[in-house]
Symmetry: C2
Subunit: 173 residues, 2 copies
């Protein structure tokens, strides 16, 4: 079953190379916001501010999003890894995407006890009407593909599109 929750992952497949480095951070050092304050970023804010700054190594005004290897954890263990202790059942992470086969487009989305499966079509994320990223929604299935059992765990994955990575210089070596 699992409760009705959602995770938001912000993978930058090309540039976020340090994704697992700080994954050992525990929930005990999480920041609790004052009553009434919430971290409710729009898709545009997540991609144009947080993900872009991450990829270009610029600090954010508030260090709100932890780096975690999403696929090294089961969804119910992720809340502990969040930098923000929220009253909402929603958490935000940066995670490095793990390509299944060298240079193919398919990602390895299995965890120890299940796998994340994409659902629906990717949606565009725009900033000042310019396309800068895509949003993919995934549902956690417990067990082994293709016989896993659908759960209520939902993840929204945001990525910068290649053109935007080029524009901001994140594809240069």
């Amino acid at each position: 079953m699992g409760c009705e929750t959602s995770l938001v992952a912000d993978p930058g497949p090309t540039a976020v190379a340090t994704a697992t480095a700080k994954a050992a951070k525990t929930g005990s050092s999480a920041t609790a916001l004052a009553p009434g304050f919430r971290f409710h970023p729009t898709d545009e804010e997540l991609v144009s501010y947080y993900l872009k700054r991450k990829v270009t190594n610029k600090p954010a005004r508030f260090d709100a999003i932890a780096e975690v290897d999403i696929y090294k954890h089961e969804p119910w263990n992720l809340s502990d890894k969040s930098k923000l202790k929220t009253r909402d059942q929603e958490w935000y992470f940066f995670s490095l995407l793990d390509k299944k086969y060298g240079n193919g487009g398919r990602m390895n989305r299995a965890t120890g006890q299940g796998y994340w499966k994409a659902t629906g079509k990717d949606r565009e994320v725009r900033h000042n009407s310019q396309l800068i990223g895509m949003k993919k929604t995934l549902v956690f299935h417990s067990g082994k593909a293709p016989d896993g059992l659908r759960t209520n765990w939902v993840m929204h994955e945001y990525r910068l599109i290649e053109e935007e990575l080029e524009r901001i210089g994140a594809l240069q070596v």
Copy 2:
């Protein structure tokens, strides 16, 4: 006309006596939250935390709500008075209620160019299932009652009920 906006006022008719004292605070010193962060308190948080602390003179963890005499301003001038500079068209204020006639229950809700008129029934605000406050919704009408023109400005007014004021000792002299 006016845009689709809402104000939230937190009047404590008995105890918030300093309501107008700091109303001269200008918007220029307002705090802008980091991207993605919003002040989206629930009714319960507004009443059980912010209003109750205000009435009992306890500081809030974050000084998020300015004291303003709501009825000394037209709604479109209020955003300037907010302590938080938000991207949302919603502002929060503490305001002292102004009784129309000495000890009657009716409030004076006129501004210079119009008046706030209650709409619908007051709703209960509960904390741990105990009734602690009421929420009233008002719509701004421009012109003079009863011939004012309805606008899109909406205010939600929260107050502590008498029993709660007694419980927290705010009615004692």
